[in-house]
């Protein structure tokens, strides 16, 4: 396949043209160019365009193979994401500002030169710095300060979270938020051994898998009480999170 046609293929792929149609167009173009070359007709006369990407995009567009609204460029999408995050943060800060502004300060007389330690209002907590900590450690800190992490780590699941390190947190460290505020942690994880889930309930499985960066996918067996009877990947297998573990459930007669 000529370089020109190959670049056309890449452009069609980028534009989302179905492979079958892209193959057809590439084959037709290739055959035409070969025939023209055999007759001594320059390719430029056939193509009328030296830029394969523009040529491919125009052709696919005219055939109606490209969606009407092209995919949003990354930069534009990033702009909207940043704008949304910015608006959320602004709203959040305004809310906190309002809370702080309307809170009745406790007035205490101090002497000139005396140092004063400022505490946040009782209903607010300061977000701890968790980036760089093992997930287990971060969990303990966040849990003790009433943050809602969306999952639980207990003695059974503690071993699995040791390979995870927190690489990002939201809200950022130092922010003042109400108690029980949701705290989102992103972790970088080493491959983990799949735990044995057989005999456990669906809820247990979630609590065991989530701290490992894994999640439950349900198999198709019908169930009533949802006791796990088999799983894939098998227990002990080494996998790279994020990954789903499919479990099959059986309804034990009560």
């Amino acid at each position: 396949m000529s370089v020109f046609v190959e670049e056309c293929r890449q452009e069609w792929k980028r534009l989302g043209v179905p492979d079958l149609l892209a193959d057809e167009m590439a084959a037709d173009l290739e055959a035409d160019l070969a025939e023209a070359e055999a007759e001594g007709v320059p390719a430029a006369e056939i193509l009328g365009e030296s830029d394969p990407r523009r040529f491919a995009a125009t052709w696919a567009g005219e055939r109606g193979l490209v969606p009407e609204e092209p995919p949003t460029p990354k930069s534009r999408r990033r702009f909207w994401i940043l704008l949304a995050v910015g608006l959320v943060l602004l709203g959040f800060l305004l809310g906190i500002g309002g809370v702080v502004a309307f809170a009745k300060p406790k007035v205490t007389a101090v002497q000139r030169g005396q140092s004063v330690q400022v505490f946040p209002p009782a209903h607010l907590v300061r977000v701890p710095a968790l980036v760089g900590l093992q997930l287990c450690h971060a969990y303990r800190i966040a849990h003790s300060r009433t943050f809602d992490l969306g999952f639980r780590i207990n003695r059974k699941t503690m071993s699995g979270c040791r390979g995870s390190v927190v690489v990002h947190q939201r809200p950022s460290a130092g922010a003042l938020v109400p108690r029980h505020w949701p705290l989102a942690l992103r972790t970088r994880q080493d491959p983990v051994h799949v735990p044995n889930l057989v005999g456990r309930s669906e809820c247990d499985a979630e609590n065991i898998l989530n701290p490992l960066g894994l999640h439950v996918r349900l198999g198709l067996r019908p169930c009533q009480h949802r006791r796990i009877v088999s799983q894939n990947p098998k227990a002990g297998q080494l996998i790279q999170p994020p990954h789903a573990v499919t479990v099959w459930l059986r309804g034990a007669k009560s």
């Binding site: 055959a31 056939i46 009328g48 365009e49 005219e62």
Partner: protein, 119 residues
């Protein structure tokens, strides 16, 4: 510079009627892409200027003005053959009439200019 300007003008003029030319070369007998280019050349249209016939064929296909089918070619891979559909024939007929009207009007304007220049 002047030559480039002339080529650009030619391209722009062709752009409005190239679809008619393509329909004209497949109205009697189906043809695949390169064969259409060859027929255009045989009838005097050696280059189609900027762009190519492929995007235009894509549009004609999308608008249902050409019908397509795959057919084995002599010694080569199966090719996609284009032929004028009934609506394509109607469009060709109307387009040719419009072209002749425009050509006549433009000719009648430009003819006097040419006379002035050559004097």
């Amino acid at each position: 510079m002047r030559r480039m300007a002339n080529e650009s003008r030619r391209s722009q003029m062709l752009r409005g009627v190239l679809d008619l030319c393509l329909l004209a070369v497949v109205v009697d007998e189906p043809a695949y892409g390169y064969e259409m280019t060859r027929r255009l050349r045989e009838r005097g249209l050696s280059t189609v200027g900027e762009g190519s016939i492929y995007p235009l064929l894509g549009r004609l296909e999308r608008e249902g003005l050409v019908a397509t089918h795959r057919q084995a070619s002599d010694g080569g891979p199966p090719r996609k053959y284009y032929s004028a559909s009934p609506s394509g024939r109607r469009a060709l007929s109307e387009g040719v009439r419009a072209w002749r009207d425009v050509r006549g009007e433009v000719d009648s304007v430009l003819a006097t200019i040419e006379a002035e220049v050559t004097q």
